[in-house]
Symmetry: C2
Subunit: 285 residues, 2 copies
């Protein structure tokens, strides 16, 4: 089977490596506008061949778009225009509503499966890719009813059987609403934490001498790239704004409690927050 | 050498285990008001003996206070009152200014060394203790000039030579100012992130199905206990309030940028936040 992966970064590269590790008969055709990334992907045996997008889709049985979400929105209808009737197209974008809307009325809509793997690290580029990234993780498929059964089967076969992912289904709007809270908000909380402490560093040069594992855990996502995240913010503005608004309100309430030295109030807030233990025991198991 | 450890939780327990692993001649006398924790500490060989505080300090060469900071403030002058002239007292509290102020004029002030190890996890209690917690971590000592040279030597010997910690010195006020940014603020950002998403769960039952490693990293500290953290907020109110105020301002600016779909602005913010890579490479090495 020929699999064309467009975008040979962390996610595209890890998908290629994971599939090849499981089944050596897969032939990966890589597409990347960044020549250096393309060359790295060949050397790192992420891709067996590098082609232009136009050429690659002619040879592919499956096309996986693993580019930033603003690029996916542009590429997805173009790729559907180009592919033959038996080719399946999927994407790995972190937003789903606008991407799905773009091809809602496309004559080959049935050949497309909207996907989002809940996996990643704060690193990027083909050098960050590793075969285990997706193994055992959650894969969300959206607008299932708009995909042909055969297309769904092929995509599920790849992610569920080959990469051992847990597949679940969701409406695109619900996906974007939820992911704003459990992923996009976490990234913004880290970006702002980073700039807050970096600003303070101007007056207090040695401030980071005292930073330990707690700080690094909360700020780790601030390493994430603007190229990937700015388009996500643009495509999920309403939901992110609402999540961020609630977060700021909760922080302000916390600040008021601390300013008032209200120990009972602080204790109640922390105890409420501790309920996350129930949730994390599920994620970390 | 008899070492009395008051508070047999994560930090006190790990100190005991780390010291015993390095030098089996240390005899640990444990003190804990929580009978269950005391019993657990005996079974887990954290403590060789459990005594009351009054009895323990009579047998100790070194007393280490590893209780919450509101308890340290109460216990520290009492312990200094009780101990003989050759006994050294130290504490492991996450705030230093108020604790140091409490004993500034104590006749035995020189026997006390104000310490704060930059180490911890979001877990608590003797069951969470492990011998490696402190190894190779940073140990901040404050108000060095107010401690006797002999007392400093004994404390440095324990933490630097036995636990291989990197010792540095700082004024208590600077310590509290810095730690508000690189530790206390991280905890509050996690507590508020937790309550924000838990609130949303009331409407969106399956919201945590999509939570992955990024979310769990930013929210992990929200498992931390109220018993430990409420007194820290009370003792470091001014600095925490200032850090939290800056954080809220940065988040609000981020929200304004997202609401305006200002892609250049978002890109600039993220690029600025990415500078944390320089800092984290130092912490994570």
């Amino acid at each position: 089977m020929n699999i064309c992966i467009v975008g040979l970064g962390l996610l595209g590269g890890s998908t290629a490596l994971g599939l090849k590790a499981k089944d050596s008969s897969y032939r990966i055709i890589g597409v990347d506008n960044d020549r250096e990334h393309a060359a790295q992907a060949l050397v790192g045996e992420i891709a067996d061949k590098i082609m232009s997008l136009e050429e690659a889709v002619q040879h592919a049985d499956v096309v996986i778009l693993a580019t930033p979400v603003n690029v996916i929105i542009k590429q997805l209808p173009e790729v559907l225009d180009m592919v033959g009737r038996n080719v399946v197209v999927t994407d790995l974008g972190s937003t789903k509503e606008q991407i799905c809307a773009t091809v809602r009325d496309h004559p080959k809509r049935g050949q497309y499966v909207a996907a989002h793997p809940i996996a990643g690290t704060e690193r990027s580029g083909p050098g960050a890719a590793f075969p285990e990234l997706l193994l055992g993780k959650q894969m969300i498929l959206c607008e299932r009813d708009r995909s042909d059964i055969e297309a769904l089967e092929i995509v599920e076969n790849l992610f569920k059987l080959k990469l051992n992912m847990r597949v679940s289904y969701m409406e695109a709007a619900a996906h974007d609403r939820h992911i704003a809270y459990v992923s996009h908000l976490s990234h913004i909380s880290s970006f702002a934490l980073s700039t807050t402490v970096l600003d303070k560093e101007k007056d207090e040069l040695s401030i980071f001498e005292m930073a330990g594992s707690g700080f690094s855990s909360t700020v780790r996502l601030a390493k994430s790239s603007a190229q990937m995240w700015v388009p996500i913010f643009s495509q999920n503005t309403k939901n992110i704004s609402s999540a961020l608004g609630s977060y700021i309100k909760n922080l302000q309430r916390f600040k008021d409690i601390i300013d008032a030295q209200d120990e009972e109030g602080a204790s109640a807030e922390i105890t409420r927050a501790n309920d996350i233990i129930r949730v994390l025991s599920g994620i970390e198991k």
